[in-house]
């Protein structure tokens, strides 16, 4: 390639890189830096005072005499966030895998329609979709009426909303398409002759599923789990709308540091910790599955 072509290419790519570099990469770096600064008295930060106080805050709080006392409030929020995100991934997998399997076995025209239907909710407003669940779950809402009508629950307000259950239903609902699409992609590539070979060698449908389909769809399943787990862990809207005060997650804790709590370094430290966990999860996935042999031909 000639020099002028190279510089032309560089000029073409430069604007996008500059925008993302300047307004995304640099802010992330700044955020990491803020997390080791002293917090200002009334919000803000003290620029030249470096401290690990924000990270110490994860586990300890300062007593009046400046000694450290164990404080598990934040740890609980982290644990809840992890628990709810894992539950979300598990629920999404339980519904998403059979759906992806069904979709992958449809004729081409119907397949494309189903994929389109799976992707539509992604492009709609997350806030609005979670709001719909308030209508469904609140006392006197549709779900409650349905449960009463079916005779599953006693005829009284159930208090479904503002519980961790509501949050996990909402999170699963929000990120379900992210589970289906990668699993579908790996099943779609799978050579049906491999399943026929399993049948041929005496495996019934259940064993063909366990011994051949699931192992060969593993990269897609792992991708789906990462894609659901990661945004669930950083969720803000769902716990805010459906969770109430007792179901706070990391996202809400971070937000509160920039609102009422006015502790920017702590907020930045929490966000940085979240980012680190997310990037680690991605890396583990990439190392484990990206170079594994793909199924079929």
């Amino acid at each position: 390639m000639t020099g002028s072509a190279t510089s032309k290419r560089f000029l073409q790519i430069a604007p996008a890189l500059a925008i993302i570099g300047f307004f995304m990469l640099a802010p992330l770096g700044l955020m990491a830096y803020v997390s080791i600064l002293e917090k200002g008295l009334n919000g803000g930060v003290v620029w030249d005072l470096h401290t690990s106080e924000a990270y110490v805050n994860f586990i300890f709080e300062r007593d009046l005499d400046d000694s450290l006392i164990l404080n598990t409030d934040y740890l609980q929020i982290f644990a809840r966030s992890f628990g709810l995100s894992l539950l979300t991934a598990a629920l999404a997998l339980a519904i998403g895998f059979p759906t992806a399997l069904y979709m992958s076995m449809q004729p081409e025209g119907r397949r494309n329609l189903l994929i389109f239907l799976v992707t539509i909710p992604f492009w709609t407003n997350l806030l609005v979709r979670n709001y719909a669940w308030i209508l469904l779950l609140r006392n006197g809402g549709l779900v409650e009426n349905l449960l009463h009508w079916l005779g599953i629950a006693a005829d009284q307000p159930l208090g479904l909303l503002y519980t961790p259950y509501a949050v996990s239903i909402g999170l699963t609902y929000s990120y379900l398409p992210f589970m289906v699409l990668p699993i579908y992609a790996s099943l779609e590539k799978l050579d049906s002759r491999l399943i026929e070979a399993a049948f041929d060698l005496g495996a019934d449908r259940r064993r063909a599923l366990l011994r051949v389909i699931l192992p060969l769809a593993a990269p897609g399943i792992a991708a789906g789990c990462v894609l659901v787990f990661v945004p669930a862990l950083g969720a803000y809207v769902t716990p805010e709308l459906l969770g109430g005060g007792k179901s706070m997650m990391i996202g809400n804790l971070i937000q509160s540091q920039f609102g009422a709590a006015r502790n920017w370094p702590f907020g930045a430290a929490l966000a940085f910790a979240l980012l680190t966990i997310v990037l680690l999860a991605m890396m583990v996935y990439l190392i484990r599955f990206r170079r594994a042999p793909a199924g079929g031909h």
């Binding site: 290419r9 069904y102 990661v230 979240l274």
Partner: protein, 264 residues
């Protein structure tokens, strides 16, 4: 997988039923919300008759109209900026592989990887600490950043599916670089650009978390306004404006999908 669905051999028990559950789970809440938005009753749970009055109320609300105006300004400007940057980047990346290409692809995809709440915090801190006043402009900048990958991916896909010989054929027929781009590449790329731009537009229109952090006073967008309304309580107005947002998004994405498939 290529199988004959009518062959009983491929009937895995329960997957069809689960698929029904899946789509019901995905779509029933949306449908319930839209249905309730046409409820005449002030109390959102009691159905007392069909009415479009709440849409009228919503469209008469000056705050909502102003917020919608802000949303449109933000979405239009950031879509234009992001689509332009994304188109250029896609064209630059399409000219064969080079060292560092993976890194650049990764950087362009970065906004998709980082959790929204982290981006929101980082961007907020950045604007405040460099002394940038929060307002419509900060929202536009933040939106442009995360719109770039959404615009970039469909354009890139379109370019990848394009026959490289077309450009060479144009050059062979005495077109210079600019003429070849204008007369051959651009017309063929147009559906990709349009589709990418529309996706960026919806993403910007729908964004809440990042906007919520970086919007200063007077820069309230529609989702931020709706959030405030939901905080106060469930009202038929919220149902109506929420349904409107859903319908607009679904129409847009369907249109974008159809354009993306054009002349494929």
């Amino acid at each position: 997988m290529r199988v004959d669905v009518t062959n009983p051999l491929w009937r895995f028990r329960g997957i069809r039923a689960t698929t029904w559950v899946f789509f019901a789970y995905l779509y029933l809440p949306i449908l319930v919300l839209i249905a309730l938005s046409f409820n005449e009753n002030r109390l959102a749970t009691i159905w007392s008759g069909f009415s479009t009055q709440w849409y009228g109320v919503v469209l008469d609300n000056d705050d909502i109209v102003r917020a919608a105006g802000n949303s449109l300004i933000v979405a239009s400007v950031s879509t234009l900026a992001a689509t332009l940057a994304a188109t250029l980047a896609a064209l630059g990346m399409a000219k064969g592989r080079f060292r560092g290409a993976d890194g650049i692809s990764g950087l362009i995809a970065l906004p998709l990887v980082v959790p929204e709440i982290v981006t929101a915090v980082a961007t907020l801190l950045f604007f405040i600490l460099i002394g940038f006043k929060l307002g419509l402009l900060t929202v536009i900048v933040a939106h442009t950043v995360f719109c770039i990958p959404f615009a970039y991916l469909p354009i890139r896909a379109r370019l990848e599916g394009m026959d490289k010989a077309l450009g060479e054929a144009a050059a062979d027929l005495y077109a210079n670089d600019w003429q070849a781009f204008q007369r051959v590449t651009l017309p063929l790329l147009w559906p990709g650009i349009l589709s990418g731009g529309m996706l960026a537009f919806i993403i910007s229109l729908d964004d809440f978390v990042i906007t919520y952090f970086v919007a200063g006073a007077g820069a309230t967008t529609l989702p931020v306004y709706i959030f405030g309304m939901i905080r106060i309580g469930i009202t038929p107005e919220v149902n109506a404006i929420s349904s409107l947002m859903l319908i607009v998004s679904i129409l847009f994405v369907t249109l974008s999908f159809l354009i993306g498939r054009m002349r494929r």
